[in-house]
């Protein structure tokens, strides 16, 4: 396994089998209730975990990225309340909260099952082959029929998902996610950074936390301009450059 060659990372990332499990853990660790505020506050850490997963090419990363897109929307909306979300985006946020609450119940129910599984088994009678020997072939007992049944069984075998394909899927999701945010910024082109800061008191939270913008900046899709210390930071979409993903 690739993860084991990088000690320190493997444990942190491979523990989570699904994105909801990770997200719920982050919310619960902070003793928060599930809502848009708590989701926004764990977005950064979630993104960190997912980028780690991506670096390690862990399985299921695509599903983690899919959820990251919604989470980033929640975060962007909390930092930029002027941001108009489409109906679809609003639904996906509400959906996420609902799914997380439901998952929480299921996760706890699963613990109950895991604890009682195999502890006191109820046994069905043992099977004994009757001593009377019979030979009762039917219409299926025919070479051609059995060949057909065999071919059908082979056609029904599960296919291995090509790892290369999984990676492409992950990249596309990331790309799509970034595209969406890019559109947002384009709409608010030349917007001053201070305008984004609605209701947030701590500058640090805004700057460090606004991962959406930083991500785009890191990728060279944004130009951040500050004319002098402590003055407003201007954000602009860099149109001259093709986006680079890593």
């Amino acid at each position: 396994m690739q993860a084991s060659t990088l000690p320190g990372f493997s444990v942190k990332t491979s523990v989570f089998e699904g994105p909801l499990e990770l997200l719920l853990e982050l919310v619960e660790k902070r003793k928060l209730l599930i809502n848009d505020i708590s989701l926004a506050s764990v977005t950064d850490e979630y993104m960190r975990q997912v980028s780690l997963m991506q670096e390690l090419s862990l399985p299921n990363t695509a599903q983690f990225i899919n959820l990251a897109a919604t989470l980033l929307l929640v975060k962007s909306k909390s930092l930029l309340p002027v941001l108009d979300l489409t109906e679809e985006e609003e639904t996906s946020i509400e959906d996420l909260e609902e799914r997380l609450r439901k998952y929480q119940i299921i996760r706890d129910a699963a613990l109950v099952l895991q604890n009682s599984f195999g502890k006191t088994k109820l046994y069905a009678p043992q099977f004994y082959k009757p001593t009377v020997s019979l030979f009762l072939p039917d219409e299926y007992c025919d070479i051609e029929k059995l060949r057909e049944a065999m071919i059908a069984a082979i056609n029904g075998l599960p296919q291995k998902e090509a790892p290369a394909q999984a990676k492409i899927k992950a990249t596309i999701s990331l790309e799509e996610m970034m595209k969406k945010l890019e559109t947002r910024i384009t709409q608010n082109l030349q917007m001053k950074f201070s305008e984004l800061n609605f209701g947030e008191t701590e500058k640090k939270v805004v700057i460090v936390g606004f991962l959406a913008i930083l991500e785009l900046f890191k990728q060279g899709n944004l130009i951040l301009r500050q004319n002098s210390y402590f003055s407003d930071i201007e954000i602009e979409l860099d149109r001259g450059q093709t986006p680079t993903y890593y």
Binding site: Q63, L113, S116, F117, P158
Partner: protein, 179 residues
């Protein structure tokens, strides 16, 4: 002959889970008649060594939970089985939401569950039925799952009603919002 005796005789003879639909057809009885017979049989068996296990679709005769340690020694105690976190999660979803499609299970778990489901099917812990109207498979629990959990009905699981209620509220809210 009383229906509960017929049902008991059949289950004893078959020594495997039987579909309720098949039992009804075999004895020419209604769903209500079968339900009454099941209740009668359950209370009659209560003082003996066997129990009637019931899922939505099937019934089966098994040994009572108190006999588990003795039978385990008879079987020279096989490897203790574990279902793992992902398996338990998937089983919990099916147990509380059955019948349920793979797509819905995936949605609740947030990950693809096809391999886990295949594994549970192979172990006989869940069953798969083809839903013609939706042209998809619906998953439900098997008597074997209840046997492994040591209960004759899922309602006997600890916290069953608490968990079922909280999930129920959820589904109600979802329905209301859809209107």
């Amino acid at each position: 002959m009383p229906i509960d005796i017929l049902v008991e005789g059949l289950l004893f003879y078959k020594s495997a889970p039987q579909k309720k639909q098949v039992v009804m057809k075999l004895f020419g009885i209604s769903e209500a008649e079968l339900a009454t017979a099941i209740e009668t049989l359950k209370s009659r068996l209560a003082t003996g060594a066997t129990r009637l296990v019931e899922t939505g679709e099937e019934i089966q005769l098994v040994t009572c939970p108190e006999l588990a340690p003795i039978i385990e020694t008879l079987r020279k105690s096989e490897l203790k089985s574990d279902i793992g976190k992902a398996g338990a999660e998937t089983l919990a979803i099916i147990l509380y939401q059955e019948p349920i499609s793979r797509a819905e299970i995936d949605r609740i778990r947030g990950v693809n569950s096809s391999f886990i489901l295949r594994n549970l099917l192979i172990r006989g812990l869940v069953e798969r039925n083809h839903n013609k109207t939706q042209n998809s498979y619906q998953f439900s629990i098997s008597p074997a799952l209840l046997n492994h959990l040591g209960v004759t009905h899922k309602h006997e699981l600890p916290d069953f009603s608490v968990i079922a209620n909280s999930l129920e509220k959820f589904n109600e809210v979802a329905i209301e919002e859809n209107i």
